[in-house]
Symmetry: C2
Subunit: 449 residues, 2 copies
């Protein structure tokens, strides 16, 4: 099955085409360095998680104009023959440096660096931001849920229906799996990405039956390997009692009821009462799964107050990153033909040049980052790695489970207050003297130029 | 060019498949009525705008399983031969009733009603919500921007890069165009949907040149039909003076500079100063275009305080519907085999049965809605219309410009406080006696059942 990501290179901003027309007319095809970074962390996020690199690389590898797309450009009448010839032959052949997916990062730190001829590096901007911002948003929100659950409950993505379009739903399944979720309700994520599917029944299934008990029994007979019963359609405690009845009847048929799901009401109180009903009914192994408006705070609070919950379905607030639906992120020209560049717009000043991040660890815990020029070296581990040379991957794509394992390992290396989602001073990111010097020199050159 | 919407029917929740397995095993294929509605309006929205119907109908018409998708389902091992045979032959053949796109609507009012055999009506749920919620969110946010601009400035969608994935960017261009925007920066929206493209240059274009003036001149020579100059890369007022210089030089070559764009800083003060520089420089016809973190409030405030702005690029906050990134919307079973159904979960009680909305107008202004059962009739205009019968469209798809004209006409018929985006009492939506009676009877039947 093909990865059904929208791949048209016309998924771009018109200004990329008009700028390319200008660059090509003036022969401005020298080497450019662009970096993607987040200017400021939103107050609701103490850290972010790099994500979307594999999606981006797949997009860069397959970025080609089809004949009908070229025909449209010709017919539009605003583009030169020179531009159209360039686009007809477009193949991404640049170098890419990036934080491995799952890397924790902070404001001003480059996540991806593109080194390519100016028109090529410019042309890919829109889709690059479109992919990276969204997967970072979701991985970062999911990481917070993962830290809140703290290995006490499993998490599953339920967000497709409220994601912003289909692609968002698919990418949210991917990003949340990297950040510690165990599965998704989105069916297509299993064949496309290998993410385990999860899900059972909606309220309509119960309503369509003459009785809740009938619905439970019919469902389990038809899906003996997937037996989670939704018990809140009419009354949760009555539903729990009927789940016990159903489980007793089904046991005689060799079918085991795996879990019940609560989707509304006072979850703390109800989960305890339901646990009690199940235990007294002789089914201490039936798990309790909860959904409905969940996020990192409800997960932390419910588990912290002793709610006997084994798993959470996290939907809307995950797939829309509801409290932080966008990032102040940018993809900026850092140097052109070897000369560093910067932007001085108020509130949007950039650090010029190609950069590297060095991370220091103390006793396995992140202790501070240093941001410097790429040519510099410093104590700690350099975080950006080259992943593409002249348009070709340096290594085969990583397995999603390997990315997820690495991401979860890193999340556990966050300083404790970040793991607790507590308010805390920002993580220390220092600017090295070499980078500060370059910024000063570049600014002086711009001011005098 | 094909409409590159992700069309796989596996873009669904796993529970749709497990429920279908249950329905098919029990022969539960009777006629079901589902309705999509919004439970409660978010406090930030006094009204919503129906949108996404054409996208949904196109999706329903083309919903087919491909061989590789069936192969996946067979290989997954959890699905019965009966279910797989059903899905292999799946064609949507239901009836669809809907509010025409662009119709203003309120909480509890059905936006779309699906009448189809139970498994078919159930199966389409996930993608139906996924499409409708997002287009409604964006049309509703765009409508607020349109009302704030009040014909004093034009609006353009700039949001693709921060939209949640590519499909969201494309659908946002569509939904905002319906609600009064004049164009989009998203190139593919022009060939696919006929929405005019818009856009000029990024800061990187300026930075890549030796001087801002060179950048302006090169750009206009390469794009003489599309000459908006971005003037805030280094200093906005200096940039405005250079735009005057560029315009003077270019005039001799027969190239007219159309506009300047401001993207940062104190826009109110800067736009006035820039207007002054352009006027004194002899270019009173050069327009001022503004972007950067715009929304309905900044548009209203800037124009209300006399900022001489001719157009706004609205990006991030539009395409993410940043203040309301999701709706409390639902697609619920309203009746099965002619019997009304309801859900009683706390806070989520539904009004049973197929419903219709009657809207009263007074002097061309919306005066109140009545929600009743579909079989009832009442004063005013019924808003839901049948758009599909047995899977076939009743009429050809409407032209996007016709939809947009109708939507904008309706927005101007909103009561004045809604048009001013002011806090106000909710718009009156009454429940007719026939519907209230049905709800009581259905609840009594459930309680005794």
């Amino acid at each position: 099955m093909k990865l059904d990501i929208i791949s048209s290179p016309l998924l771009t901003d018109l200004y990329q085409l008009t700028m390319l027309q200008g660059y090509l007319d003036k022969g401005m095809t020298g080497k450019a360095v662009f970096e993607f970074f987040v200017r400021n962390l939103p107050p609701e996020r103490g850290f972010l998680v790099a994500c979307g690199l594999e999606t981006l690389l797949a997009c860069l590898e397959s970025m080609r104009f089809q004949d009908d797309e070229i025909d449209y450009l010709v017919g539009a009448g605003r583009f030169s023959g020179r531009l159209i010839d360039y686009l007809r032959g477009f193949r991404f052949s640049g170098d890419v440096y990036a934080l491995p997916e799952g890397t924790v990062f902070f404001a001003q730190e480059p996540v991806v660096r593109i080194v390519a001829p100016l028109p090529m590096a410019q042309f890919i901007e829109t889709r690059l931001i479109n992919i990276l911002q969204y997967e970072i948003l979701i991985a970062s929100k999911a990481a917070r849920c993962f830290l809140a659950a703290d290995d006490r409950a499993i998490l599953v993505d339920f967000g497709l229906r409220r994601a912003h379009g289909a692609e968002a739903g698919l990418l949210a399944a991917r990003a949340s799996y990297i950040a510690g979720f165990r599965g998704t309700s989105t069916v297509i994520a299993e064949p496309l990405l290998g993410i385990p599917g999860n899900g059972t029944m909606a309220h309509s299934f119960i309503q369509a039956h003459h009785s809740e008990l009938d619905a439970f029994i019919n469902f389990c007979r038809s899906n003996p390997g997937n037996t989670t019963l939704l018990i809140d359609t009419y009354d949760t405690l009555t539903g729990a009692a009927r789940a016990v009845t159903a489980a007793s009847l089904l046991t005689r048929e060799g079918i085991r009821v795996n879990a019940v799901r609560l989707d509304s009401g006072d979850i703390l109180t109800l989960s305890k009462a339901v646990r009690n009903i199940l235990d007294r009914g002789g089914f201490p192994k039936i798990k309790i799964f909860v959904s409905g408006n969940m996020d990192e705070f409800s997960i932390r609070d419910l588990l912290g107050r002793g709610a006997p919950i084994d798993g959470f379905g996290v939907g809307t607030k995950l797939d829309t990153s509801a409290d932080v639906p966008y990032l102040e992120c940018a993809y900026k020209l850092m140097s052109y033909e070897g000369k560093p560049r910067l932007k001085k717009s108020p509130g949007k000043v950039t650090l010029p040049g190609a950069k590297q991040i060095y991370r220091r660890m103390e006793n396995g815990i992140m202790a501070g980052d240093l941001l410097t020029i790429a040519a510099d070296s410093a104590p700690g581990t350099p975080l950006l790695k080259q992943v593409m040379a002249a348009g070709g991957r340096i290594e085969d794509p990583l397995d999603l489970n390997a990315i997820a394992a690495s991401a979860q390992h890193q999340l556990k290396a966050l300083p404790a207050h970040f793991r607790r989602l507590a308010a805390a001073p920002p993580y220390p990111v220092a600017i090295a003297p070499a980078l500060a010097d370059l910024a000063r020199e570049t600014e002086a050159a711009v001011a005098s130029g």
